[in-house]
Subunit: 386 residues, 2 copies
Amino acid sequence: MKDFEFHIPTKVIFGKKALQKIPKEIPILGKKALWAYGKTSIKKTGLYEKIKELLSKANIDFVELGEIKSNPLLSKVIEGIELARKYKPDFILAVGGGSVIDTAKAISCGYYYEGDPWDFFEKKATPEKALPIVVILTISGTGSELNEVSVITHDTQKIKHSLRSPLLFPKISFLDPTLTFTVSPEYTAYGAVDAFSHVFEFFINREYKKDFLAEDLMVALMKNILKWSKIAIKDPFNYEARANLMWASSLALCGLIKSGIGTYRFPIHAIEHTLSGGYDIPHGLGLAILMRAWIKKFKENNMIKRFFIKVFDLSAKDRDISDKGLEIFENWLKELRIPINLKEAGIPEEDIEILVDKAFNIFVLYGAEKEYPKEKIREILETAYF
Amino acid sequence: MKDFEFHIPTKVIFGKKALQKIPKEIPILGKKALWAYGKTSIKKTGLYEKIKELLSKANIDFVELGEIKSNPLLSKVIEGIELARKYKPDFILAVGGGSVIDTAKAISCGYYYEGDPWDFFEKKATPEKALPIVVILTISGTGSELNEVSVITHDTQKIKHSLRSPLLFPKISFLDPTLTFTVSPEYTAYGAVDAFSHVFEFFINREYKKDFLAEDLMVALMKNILKWSKIAIKDPFNYEARANLMWASSLALCGLIKSGIGTYRFPIHAIEHTLSGGYDIPHGLGLAILMRAWIKKFKENNMIKRFFIKVFDLSAKDRDISDKGLEIFENWLKELRIPINLKEAGIPEEDIEILVDKAFNIFVLYGAEKEYPKEKIREILETAYF
């Protein structure tokens, strides 16, 4: 086991009655909120009015920053910072999924920074102060509600980069699974794949490769994501499925399961960021395609076999374990009705070389270019094509 | 899944080099520490001198409160409060296991309370302020390093009660598994049983009984405690065993695995408190005996059978599942060289009726006397005798 630090300062309020606790919990953070949200869906579902009422009960004034889209853009972050500098909020209220939360996080530290907020994402600057963030989660998957990471896309460079700072943990996250009842089967699937991919990357791309406690916690999370995602797709109003998916997604990227694994890489995410950043396809879709390619390419690898044994309950003695494992994974994606290759997702084959270059640059930024040379990236993308 | 709140504000610094971070991490809490520790063993192992050096490096002055014994006493808490009121520390440094940490916790809130600190334990008063606590853990088991609970024994009444307050979470816990290399096989076993019992009680005595994410996290913890405890007993300097036991113990009672289980009871702990409180036997020993009695008595019960299936990998179809499960559990205790009944532990049989009364009073305090009438308690204790 490798040395580690573990610190999750976020307070989670989880369940059907979570939102009722807003008037009691958030006034401690101040009286003025910048309220960030995504598309108009929160107005259709009635959530917008409900939150307005709760804020009024809590005597909180607010300004709104709406229309945050998925694969959130730097330009929106800058718009938010400008709005915040005029309004001077005490905290940011993020109502949505990962895109809204990540935008709120970037605004929260960009607010106190005089330079271009993209500097944080290019590792040219480090956040030194940030506004507190409160989350009301409406879609499961990214885990942003319980971590210190923000992922933003540069508008013109079409590049997605991530920022990590302990200042970015939300202060309070309200997780009400019933808010995800109206998430489409498609986006439910993408969210489940996203959460699964976080655990999968920790499992296979870690320094400490032995079988130990954190590995079994990973297995528990992956098995539950597999199980409950299938149910949620078929039965969107199944509370148990929505609740287990929501909590598993939060735990998947909060620092719990990486405790003791040492250094790790997220190569599937690095390559994926060129897809959702470049073509505006859902992040979960890109991850599904690349995870399947990764498994296909490395199915004989020991860590992938251990993944098959522990997560899919295959036998180590089974000669066909690699093929069976790949098949079970592909069947899961099919059951979630997700395209399993780049071709089905509509990415032009001739773009592969551009994607290789972009992905390579991301690995360079993380000092991982020796581990992931262009050739290796190209092989993954070629495997992902069909 | 039931509604829940999840908040673990403690920062954990884990590993072989954890203590080296003391000079960087603790000066933020102030310049004066009340340093609480147990027996002289930290002087024999050299830890005392090492910490003294680290405190000096961090420019921290201190007074010492030593000689805290296991099953820690209220009188020691009062002594600590008096010492603290004279010295006015900025924080309490607890170096030891659960007994030292629990004493530090009781002092931390008793410091600001004018009445008898026992009031907190009898639910006559609630802590409103507490000194910050820093932990250096030297023995695994109780999980006190990552939770908000303190258990103290009343000197004359020979009763153990617990206090729970969010103010009691340590600010920082330094967990270095190498510090437990010198823990005797006996106390290693008691610690492992203590941690196991926390998960076991959550597993069997919970409101939400369905199979879901938290249950699988419980299973992962229990399997790892079983596995690594056997190794640590035989090979005390095995870092992986010590590290996995330490981290599993911390996670077992930190709020993670009870997320979503609804209300729960800790009846085995309630009854045990009459044993270690009354006869000064190790808490882990009392728990081992009572867990074994509980399993023996309720081995046909559905939740116990599910425990056998998931934790011991027994088959649901096996007709002898109950007997086999009990046998596996007893074999574990035997491998840990722990007495498995009250007779072996030297408790006089004629005391059972006194224990029934004492345990019943604890259940009354928690409003659980209807669920656990005297008759039921007597049956458990009688089963525990042989």
